[in-house]
């Protein structure tokens, strides 16, 4: 395991890189993209487990904290979607360098899935994009966490500041937008619950010529339901399914 800082010197990003165990199987690399806010804290343990299982099947992994989150540089109050999207460029290049590969897979949970789609859909070096319980609509997400009417000023969401500018950016996130339909890469949507918004996303993409897969893998736990004692969620079934999806040998 190699914990390190990388990226731009003015706002270093924290990441953990682990090399896949070589066993003669296909080699590859996966960028794991955390959710944000309190969901990041709850998901950290699950990401470590997913990281371990991906390594076991020979895949190298980089998981990293976006700017202004976790151990990466920046105040939480200055977080922005634009900066987070920019972080993906740094992280993907860093992973390619470390794993010595030309292309990578990208898997994200909740906001991580939404950001990953925005950041990677037009990249030619992403071979598999995997969305895990994605936030389909930024507006619907905000309805859950800050409510309507939207409050003025900075509000705390489970201990993390939601500034008006961040709120504005999240408000405009909409995965069903036609230009976000992944093409020219493998793509999967894995969800723990069969919800209308997930179906709406799959239908929108299918209507736009999407050739990826949509799968419901019933798993326990609700990422959005913060636990006052910071309990971790480890939905085993869906984690194993993600490993199975990403281990599929692909031409490199």
């Amino acid at each position: 395991m190699n914990p390190f800082f990388f990226g731009p010197s003015e706002r270093p990003l924290f990441g953990v890189y682990t090399h896949g165990k070589s066993g003669g199987g296909p080699e590859g690399a996966v960028l794991l993209c955390y959710p944000t806010g309190s969901e990041y804290m709850r998901a950290h343990r699950a990401f470590r487990q997913l990281n371990t299982l991906l390594n076991r099947v020979g895949l190298s992994v980089l998981r990293f904290d976006y700017s202004h989150t976790g151990d990466s540089a920046g105040h939480s109050e200055d977080a922005s979607v634009a900066t987070w999207l920019d972080d993906f460029d740094w992280a993907i290049e860093e992973l390619k360098d470390n794993a010595r590969v030309e292309s990578v897979s990208v898997a994200g949970l909740r906001m991580g899935a939404t950001l990953a789609t925005r950041a990677c859909v037009d990249r030619s070096d992403v071979e598999h994009l995997l969305l895990w319980d994605p936030i389909v609509s930024g507006g619907a997400y905000l309805d859950e966490v800050v409510g309507r009417p939207r409050p003025d000023g900075v509000v705390g969401v489970e201990g993390f500041p939601m500034t008006p500018s961040l709120r504005e950016e999240i408000e405009h996130l909409d995965l069903t937008a036609a230009e976000l339909t992944p093409k020219g890469m493998m793509s999967s949507i894995l969800v723990a619950e069969d919800r209308p918004d997930y179906r709406q996303l799959a239908d929108a993409w299918l209507g736009n010529g999407w050739e990826g897969s949509f799968r419901v893998v019933p798993s326990e736990g609700n990422w959005a339901q913060a636990d006052p004692f910071g309990d971790a969620l480890i939905p085993q079934q869906i984690i194993q399914s993600i490993v199975d999806e990403l281990r599929v040998p692909t031409a490199r």
Partner: protein, 283 residues
């Protein structure tokens, strides 16, 4: 301010060192070590530990925040040391490491909940500790606590009914056992006997260790400002002990105003610890 990621000790624990800029660095100041609370990784609940480390760097203080084995990014330890002993041992390993890289032999140690517990025990074990801070430390009921917690309920028939129902509900002891790769670290907090904690606090104060306590309304066992001092009267009399109670603060300090109070308190307290240490060294 500069941060670097490290691994250290026999268990390759993962941590982040936050160092002040050379212009503000105070090399003679004790180093701060921040300990995990429960299974929350080293960034701390609501990223509070990151805020503390960076604020202290602005004051010239170096900080290490790290993950105990099996928590956050640190691997599970191969040996079978009991968890409470592991907290102490790994805190000592953190001090050993920071002593090697900074040359500093004095430390402030603290954390939220079980992190604060670890700081307390490590402070008793290792005399390099000159300051201990705890959020929602071990505490014990007093007469004032019982009156506040149970007084209103004694007169409420619904509370009696609820109490009876709770006792009749069978606890679920058949939790599914995770397979090895999905094991979550577990820490069930056990409050030691009051006398043991009282003796420990006495030892720390006798040694000149500075103490800071924040108690929150999120801790069921704590109900009012002076409860800790009434339990341990030595604390009230000793000017090396500081305590704040925020009744409307939750256990993990999620309110941003409360986070600011905590960070400001720790900055002020650390400054005083550093000043006291400097005075003792020059005396």
């Amino acid at each position: 301010m500069r941060e670097r990621a490290i691994t250290f000790g026999p268990a390759n624990l993962v941590g982040i060192i936050t160092q002040p800029d050379p212009g503000v660095a105070r090399p003679d100041t004790p180093v701060m070590i921040i300990l995990n609370s429960g299974i929350l990784h080293r960034a701390g609940a609501s990223r509070t530990y990151v805020q503390i480390a960076r604020a202290l760097a602005d004051d010239g203080i170096t900080t290490l925040r790290f993950d105990f084995s099996g928590v956050g990014d640190s691997e599970v330890r191969k040996d079978s040391i009991p968890i409470e002993e592991r907290f102490i041992q790994e805190t000592v390993e953190a001090m050993d490491y920071m002593q090697t890289v900074t040359g500093q032999r004095r430390f402030m140690v603290g954390g939220l909940c079980s992190g604060g517990d670890g700081a307390f025990w490590a402070g008793l074990r290792d005399e390099r500790v000159v300051g201990v801070w705890q959020i929602d430390a071990f505490c014990y009921p007093t007469l004032g606590y019982r009156l506040r917690r149970y007084g209103p309920k004694l007169l409420d028939p619904r509370a009696w009914l609820h109490s009876i129902k709770v006792r009749l509900v069978k606890s679920d002891s058949n939790e599914e056992k995770d397979e090895e790769s999905f094991v979550k670290p577990e820490y069930r907090r056990v409050f030691p006997p009051r006398e043991e904690v009282g003796a420990g606090l006495g030892q720390l104060l006798d040694r000149g260790v500075d103490l800071y306590f924040l108690f929150t309304g999120g801790l069921e066992e704590y109900a009012y400002e002076t409860q800790h001092e009434e339990t341990f009267p030595r604390l009230r009399l000793d000017d090396r002990a500081e305590l704040r109670y925020i009744g409307d603060c939750d256990h993990t300090v999620t309110n941003r105003q409360h986070q600011r109070i905590l960070v400001d308190d720790l900055r002020a307290w650390s400054g005083r610890v550093a000043g006291a240490e400097a005075a003792e060294l020059s005396a």
